[in-house]
Symmetry: C2
């Protein structure tokens, strides 16, 4: 194994006990100090980031990637604001999740405790460094970060600030650690640090997830695709349906909770689809035969289109026979992220909620709400499309686990 990684692993484990049993006051102080320092060190950060940008431009990084890499004063201020906001959230650690007394007098509790070392492997957004580390620290974890090579100078500068803040708050600086060796081999080794990493959170595309599935041996939570549907029922308020589809598709098309596919009950398709096509100006519609018949400007959708997360101005459209057909279509193509129905019919809403298997099911609301901030978690470290540990937006609570604590008075088992 890379010597750097082995040594960082030892340091991460050494910091766990102190940070996981520290007071929330100390951790909050570290976060607030880090926010102050990020702004105070802003010029140094931006200088490091300019170096990253220059190297990335020279290496021919795509414009969208360059945009994600770029920091400016406003983005630094956002990072600082994020840390302050996380500091202000309630501490999840120490919560007694539940508890009871057994017939033999044993007092049983499940108590929320930090996970330990949380690994985060991510691509070229430097703000993830501060956002993810902030959430990990708040929940009493060591943040073990592995960003991309393109953002290395920026990440180094941000991590230096976080470590300085920890030190000033009397906490171990090693509660935030950055892997500086950004080779592919090191990424693979990082995913296999059993006994070091308690939970690994990947923040990246399909390729990273495939790599994790094949190679990771540490426990992980996957932040998967969002092939999200909006189903407009026969009993929908069509004005509401227009608003919701427009919002879900266009408010921010590049994110995982944006709608990628529209299903319309045949009873309202003729009225809705032409209006929708006008409202969705600039969005390419790829429809099935019935949809194309109603919207001549639409192109014909292939099977693959219905399975695609476009992440851009494109929407697949199908006209369905009924609610059952809509659910069957979603069963087939959904990635299990967020699925919405628009209907005024209680029975239809209830059935959709019960039968659709996704992290989030929405009735008469835009899929764009499926986000830690919007749903009230305060912040999020990602959105899980798996079912174990975390499903949907992952907030502070998902960065903890429950430990059983049993208080007895000498009980033995018979």
């Amino acid at each position: 194994m890379a010597a750097e990684l082995a040594s960082l692993g030892v340091r991460a484990r050494a910091a766990v006990k102190t940070i996981s049993t520290s007071s929330s006051a100390a951790r909050d102080q570290a976060l607030v100090l880090a926010a102050e320092l990020l702004v105070a060190r802003s010029e140094k950060l931006l200088e490091a980031n300019r170096a990253d940008q220059a190297a990335a431009r020279a290496a021919g990084l795509a414009p969208s990637a360059l945009d994600r890499l770029a920091l400016d004063a406003a983005r630094v201020e956002q990072m600082a604001a994020g840390l302050r906001q996380v500091a202000a959230l309630a501490d999840p650690v120490g919560e007694v999740v539940d508890g009871w007394v057994r017939p033999n007098g044993l007092r049983v509790q499940r108590v929320r405790v930090p996970l330990g070392v949380v690994g985060v492997i991510y691509e070229n957004r430097p703000n993830v460094t501060s956002d993810a580390a902030g959430l990990c620290l708040k929940a009493g974890n060591v943040a073990f970060l592995r960003g991309s090579s393109s953002a290395l100078a920026s990440n180094r500068a941000i991590v230096a600030v976080l470590r300085e803040a920890l030190d000033k708050a009397g906490l171990p600086p090693d509660a935030v650690l950055l892997v500086e060796d950004t080779s592919h081999d090191t990424a693979l080794q990082f995913m296999r640090l059993r006994g070091v990493i308690d939970c690994l959170i990947p923040r990246g595309g399909r390729q990273l997830i495939e790599l994790m599935l094949e190679h990771a041996t540490v426990p992980y939570v996957l932040d998967g695709d969002g092939n999200c549907h909006v189903y407009v029922d026969a009993a929908a308020d069509l004005e509401m349906a227009l608003d919701i589809v427009l919002n879900a598709k266009t408010q921010r098309p590049g994110v995982c909770n944006a709608a990628e596919s529209l299903l319309v009950h045949r009873a309202v398709a003729a009225e809705l689809l032409p209006r929708l096509a006008r409202a969705l100006e600039g969005v390419e519609l790829r429809g099935d035969a019935a949809a194309v018949a109603l919207v001549p400007s639409a192109t014909s959708a292939t099977e693959a289109d219905f399975a695609t997360e476009f992440l851009g101005p494109c929407l697949s459209v199908a006209v369905v026979e009924d609610l059952g057909a809509a659910i069957a279509h979603i069963d087939r193509f959904s990635s299990g992220h967020s699925e919405a129905i628009v209907t005024e019919d209680l029975a239809a809403a209830t059935r959709f909620v019960r039968e659709v298997d996704a992290a989030a099911v929405l009735v008469n609301a835009s899929t764009r709400f499926v986000d830690g901030g919007e749903l009230g978690l305060g912040a999020e470290v990602g959105i899980s499309t798996q079912k174990l540990h975390a499903r949907g937006p992952m907030g502070l609570r998902e960065l903890t686990c429950a430990k059983w604590v049993v208080w007895g008075e000498g009980q033995t088992r018979t």
Copy 2:
């Protein structure tokens, strides 16, 4: 992929919607019917089991494995009783885990729903077939079972009973499926059924777990080793300490929550250890130098002994300087299962509970209580030594996940 596995996978997914949205009354009825049928078909079951036993004996299976494989009328009755007991538990499905209203009026809930298809891969205990399937069904899941070749005839007979009961209760028989191809290759393919298996639970030894870590791509919960410690503090009630150590070590030495290692504060070692050695007659003690000095019959422990889950009449013993040294020893050697302290000192108990990182931490109670039944879960499908999703005994709740349900009135995101 093996044709059988592919076809079973399709059948499992086809059964998910019906079983996951079925009434708990129907599922309970199926469980009670299955219990009746197990007893009614007892002779057929035992006949199948005798065939398995004969083949296993001919193949030279070890006596302990043969014992695990063997069924008799009493064990069949136990299986039936287990199903009745699970039927009587509260249904975890549908529980509103939490919920709130957002400032924009969105009503947000997290609702407990079945996982979907739960895969169970296990070794040669046929009772696991009925126990695991019963828990999966109770929580609204499809049980997709892959047992060992040595128990195939027994497993077939048990699964036939479960499927008959499902059918009689008006539920899809395919909610219980058995993989009959028990080749190693099929086991590997089973671990990689992404999109089919929502959660895989291995019940087996080290080798199976290593196989999972290397090859599984489906989400899984590991049921790991139990290198459990009892620490007897300076402030312990020594009579209580004797009782607890004796119970934790000898009440059932072959299970994961039995104690494997004893740590004794040096202030009470001279008084406790000789008495303990007498009480633990028949148990081999492997001690550090200080322990051997007090118990001449003890052998010298190696480093490896302190890391070993003996699962038998052997106990490693170390004399420690103080509570901090005990915790440091546990940090180093614990497998994160169950760790106990015996003390009358509140500060010591509190520190031990806070600092020891294990699925369960016990004060003045035997480690043997760390079990789903003993802690009040009604039943368990295993004991997780990982931190994600389930930590410690896994009951019905751990066979479910939470789905976000958002009720709106046309809200869109701005």
